[in-house]
């Protein structure tokens, strides 16, 4: 299996009037063909910035260091014409919520057909129209609706239109940036179902960004957890949240309510504190101010991402600590949080 | 001494609290306004013109306005005595220009007051009151908005005569729709906010809601819009005067241009008579526009990054 997407030591820094803001710091990861990889993390951890680099869509004031390879080609340094040909035809993006990602005054059919005819000018109008019809049906919408405008659809339908649009040029890689945010739970499941079925049937690679663990746990083969621009944990989808090795991963998992588990009902949700300001990151491990397991060492040394048993990777100095000990400490943190409320 | 004997800080009355809050808010607005260089520049120019208008009798001899006392040559170019030359009656153009500032600014202000009063009242009423009253007021606003200014102003001025006040009245009565629409839109968006609902639940009647809640919240918009309205009013007064509808007993920049045009200043090439009044109008209108735009940006941060 070839690597569809490869990030090597990727760093993205925003240059602002108030100084440099590192959004992504040294991320290395890959997505293989037929594989779905998820990236989890809170808002501001850098996952959307990371996603934008895949098609070189990052804002102008972002400085990119490291390499982004799509099908072995360096996206960040390739020629402009080459990049435009690659966009959508080899890798496509599904944007968030389709709230304003669709042109409000253009029919959806035309919007889906646009990249088709852009990448292959020999495709005629009728041919494009029939392909649009096929795409709509693949995502569960009637082909006749191609003539409607975006405001005539519900949120879930708009998201599915975005998915259909992403598949228009038969890409091999799909990057979905928060595709289910702003949708209610039922519709969310439906949209995810559509996405995962297509990925499986067409053998595509999927990079799924979300802050919602339920989404990632059920959908992805591998999940990476990001915090303050770094990957802090990596592992197989479901396993990672059942047995987290990094304290942040554990906090994320603990924050997720487990329906039906009476103990979990009374456990507090959330981790005290806020994600760090990228302009003034804590020394050493960025998570140490909020970490129950932090020691003096953690304030000086930024732990690298290291392989662990079971096809896992963790960036924590206390990853090998006794698991029960961690659970105990985790519960103490939880109890302290509860008392503070 | 026990704690009870020590006098604590005097409790402020509600009015004092409101006053302090308003002053603090005004201070913040001023600070923000200062960051817009164009607005500050406009403000400076305006202050200069207002001072000139106020101190006109000090800066120039009022007798210079009298045609009978004119001593200069007719339509002569600038000399050392007459810095901007003379008009068709031999009066100093500079004197006319200085005193003309008074009329132009006064009429502009008067017209604006009328326009803003009408526009704000109708705007709030049509936005707030539903039913047929609100609908009717809205239709009325739209109708008056469509009617072109000059034809209507010409008709009104002809029927009502040409004095300072009728001209100001005419301009005011023809320019309120723009303001009314703007205020109406603001009112509509404020009407359904939670604090309005709270006021209704507490028993506030329509008049109370409109005056105590909606009006203070639209005031920033009104304020910014006022400066832009004055700009338009001054342009309008100049145009009406140029067409011959200005007050014949007064001198304004518009009447100066009317006289210039009708007395052959064009064919004679009397640029000193034609250019200065126009340049003054441009400066004043431009300044009001810049100040108004800066205020709009201050009150509506969304506009700031332009």
């Amino acid at each position: 299996m070839s690597e569809l997407l490869e990030l090597r030591d990727l760093s993205v820094t925003y240059r602002t009037r108030a100084g440099d803001m590192p959004a992504v710091r040294g991320v290395t990861m890959s997505v293989a063909s037929g594989q779905s990889v998820g990236i989890a993390g809170e808002s501001g951890c850098g996952k959307s910035t990371l996603a934008s680099t895949v098609l070189r869509l990052q804002p102008k004031n972002a400085r990119v260091d490291g390499t982004v390879l799509v099908n072995g080609q360096d996206v960040q340094t390739m020629r402009w014409g080459h990049l435009r040909a690659l966009r959508w035809a080899q890798a496509a993006m599904v944007f968030q919520g389709a709230l304003h990602s669709l042109n409000p005054v253009q029919r959806v059919g035309d919007q889906i057909a646009e990249p088709i005819r852009l990448h292959d000018p020999s495709v005629g109008k009728t041919e494009a129209a029939s392909r649009v019809g096929e795409l709509l049906e693949e995502v569960g919408l009637p082909a006749a609706r191609a003539r409607s405008y975006p405001h005539q659809f519900s949120g879930g339908q708009k998201q599915r239109i975005m998915i259909a649009m992403a598949l228009a040029c038969r890409p091999q890689l799909i990057v979905a940036d928060e595709p289910t945010t702003a949708l209610d739970v039922m519709v969310q499941a439906q949209v995810l179902g559509v996405l995962t079925d297509l990925v499986r049937d067409l053998g595509l690679g999927l990079l799924l960004i979300s802050h919602d663990l339920s989404v990632l746990g059920t959908t992805c083969d591998r999940v990476l957890v990001m915090y303050a621009g770094r990957v802090v944990e990596e592992g197989p989808g479901s396993g990672l949240f059942d047995r987290p090795l990094h304290p942040y991963g554990g906090a994320l998992a603990a924050a997720f309510p487990r329906v039906g588990d009476p103990v979990a009902r009374f456990a507090p949700i959330g981790l005290p504190g806020d994600p760090p300001d990228p302009r003034s990151l804590p020394s050493g491990c960025a998570f140490h101010p909020r970490c129950a397991l932090a020691t003096a060492e953690c304030t000086t040394m930024d732990p690298p991402l290291e392989p662990h048993a079971g096809d896992r990777k963790v960036a924590c100095l206390h990853a090998d600590d006794d698991r029960d000990m961690k659970l105990l400490l985790g519960q103490r943190v939880a109890a302290a949080g509860e008392a503070a409320r | 001494m026990s704690a009870a004997d020590v006098p604590g800080p005097k409790a402020l009355s509600a009015r004092q609290v409101t006053w302090r809050r308003r002053m603090a808010s005004a201070g913040r607005t001023w600070k923000e306004f200062q960051r817009h260089r164009s607005g500050v520049a406009g403000l400076c120019v305006l202050v200069i013109f207002v001072l000139v208008a106020i101190f006109a009798p000090v800066l120039a001899n009022p007798e210079g306005l009298l045609r009978t006392k004119a001593t200069g040559a007719v339509l002569a170019g600038p000399t050392s005595t007459y810095w901007l030359g003379t008009d068709e009656a031999g009066r100093s153009v500079l004197t006319l220009l200085i005193f003309g500032a008074r009329v132009s600014l006064l009429v502009g202000l008067f017209a604006t007051v009328i326009s803003m009063l009408l526009g704000t009242v109708i705007g709030i009423a049509s936005g707030f009151l539903g039913g047929w009253i609100g609908g009717l007021l809205y239709r009325l606003t739209e109708w008056f908005l469509v009617i072109p200014f000059v034809p209507l102003a010409l008709v009104l001025a002809t029927l009502l005569g040409s004095s300072l006040y009728t001209v100001g009245f005419v301009i005011g009565v023809t320019s309120w729709p723009g303001t009314a629409l703007l205020i109406r839109a603001q009112t509509l968006s404020i009407k359904n906010r939670p604090y309005m609902e709270r006021a209704r639940v507490l028993g506030a009647g329509n008049r109370h809601q409109m005056s105590k809640h909606i009006l203070p919240n639209v005031m920033p918009m009104v304020f910014a819009n006022t400066t832009l309205t004055v700009a338009g009013a001054i342009l309008a007064e100049t145009t009406l005067s140029f067409l011959g509808l200005g007050d014949p007993s007064r001198v304004s920049w518009g009447t100066m241009l009317d006289s210039a045009f009708n007395n052959g200043a064009l064919t004679l090439g009397a640029w000193w008579y034609l250019f200065p009044p126009g340049i003054c109008v441009i400066l004043v209108v431009l300044s009001f526009t810049l100040v108004g735009q800066a205020l709009e940006e201050v009150f509506n941060p969304r506009l700031r990054d332009r």
Binding site: M93, H151, F153 | L159, F242, L257, G269, L274
Partner: protein
């Protein structure tokens, strides 16, 4: 250990539900209904103008028979004849009906100055105004929108700064004063600048207006007035377009277009600029009256024998029937232009048609 929640999709894929979106596109019926609403709205405005006209000239005017007879009738018998003719001794509602009948045929009576029917005079002078306003409007829209677009694309750079400063200054200028400026510079000649253009009027006396020479001559006479109006109008279009385009450029759907591989130039042209035209159409239609006002004043400055000059000439006596006629014609023209721009907006933005 709890298992991850597995939700079955709540819409079976075999039967996708439309979820109450109603008709699948703005149905023909909805579009026609919207069209009808717009036309009815304009008709209502026109009706209001008719009533306002009546109100201004008959009701405010306490002795209409005097103004209507001014300049011609002097004996009581003649005045009585005028009263009879215009039905001024009838009750007001009846007068209104007579007035309505007259308006339907655009009969405003006879002009005081020229002793001819107002309608004939207006018809004669219509063409120069149409040419002047039409040419200026088209030119100013094209040039103004273009300048505004380029300024927005180059926001903060030299072109933007210079063009914005120039257009704001033009916008603060009475358009007729600009006309005076151009007139004195290029027609009467100022200092070193030679006299290039005729000093007013539409045509040099003696030339047949329909001959080729005549057409060229008239065009030459129109250069300065058209230039004046074009410069005056384009200022507003340019400022509004720049503003609207800057707003539009922050929209998310533009990112989607770039992600699809569209070249930046096409992203701008096909999506951003086209969508920015929507607020431009709205704002411009609010200012159509400005076009009419400009025509009136500029015709006066350059002595172009059109409807505008007719109007300002009518101020002299005052020529009430003429004023009434021109007021109505200008207002009706603006109402019509408003309707056209509303319909144009509806064509551009399907969201309002529902």
């Amino acid at each position: 250990m709890s298992t991850p929640i597995d939700l079955a999709p709540y819409e079976p894929e075999s039967a996708p539900v439309v979820q109450g979106d109603g008709p699948q596109r703005p149905s023909r019926a909805a579009t026609w209904r919207w069209f009808g609403q717009k036309v009815a709205g304009s008709a209502g405005t026109l009706a209001f103008i008719v009533v306002l006209n009546f109100f201004l000239f008959r009701v405010i005017n306490p002795h209409p028979e005097r103004t209507l007879a001014r300049g011609r009738a002097t004996t009581p018998a003649q005045i009585q004849a005028v009263i009879e003719k215009y039905g001024l001794n009838q009750p007001l509602p009846k007068q209104f009906v007579i007035y309505l009948k007259n308006i339907a045929t655009l009969d405003f009576g006879d002009s005081y100055q020229y002793s001819q029917p107002v309608r004939t005079l207006m018809l004669d002078r219509l063409w120069p105004t149409v040419v002047l306003v039409g040419t200026s409007t088209v030119l100013s829209i094209v040039v103004g929108l273009w300048i505004g677009t380029i300024a927005a694309w180059n926001r903060g750079r030299k072109f933007d700064k210079i063009s914005t400063a120039s257009t704001i200054t033009l916008y603060s200028m009475p358009e007729w004063w600009l006309g005076l400026l151009l007139f004195s510079a290029f027609a009467t000649g100022l200092g070193p600048i030679p006299r290039m253009f005729p000093i007013g009027r539409l045509i040099t006396p003696g030339i047949n207006p329909w001959s080729l020479d005549g057409v060229i001559d008239q065009a030459w006479h129109l250069v300065l007035p058209v230039l004046t109006l074009t410069l005056a109008y384009l200022a507003e279009y340019s400022l509004i377009m720049r503003s609207a385009l800057l707003d539009e450029m922050g929209e998310d759907y533009l990112l989607t277009s770039r992600a699809k591989g569209l070249r930046d130039v096409l992203v701008r042209r096909r999506h951003a600029t086209r969508n920015a035209l929507l607020p431009v159409v709205t704002l411009v239609s609010l200012n159509l009256g400005f076009i009419v006002s400009g025509a009136i004043t500029v015709e006066t400055v350059f002595s172009i024998p059109g409807l505008g000059l007719l109007t300002t000439d009518a101020l002299r006596i005052p020529d009430i029937p003429m004023l009434q006629g021109t007021f109505f014609v200008f207002s009706a023209a603006v109402v019509f232009a408003n309707l056209v721009s509303n319909l144009l907006y509806g064509w551009l933005d399907p969201r309002v048609r529902v």
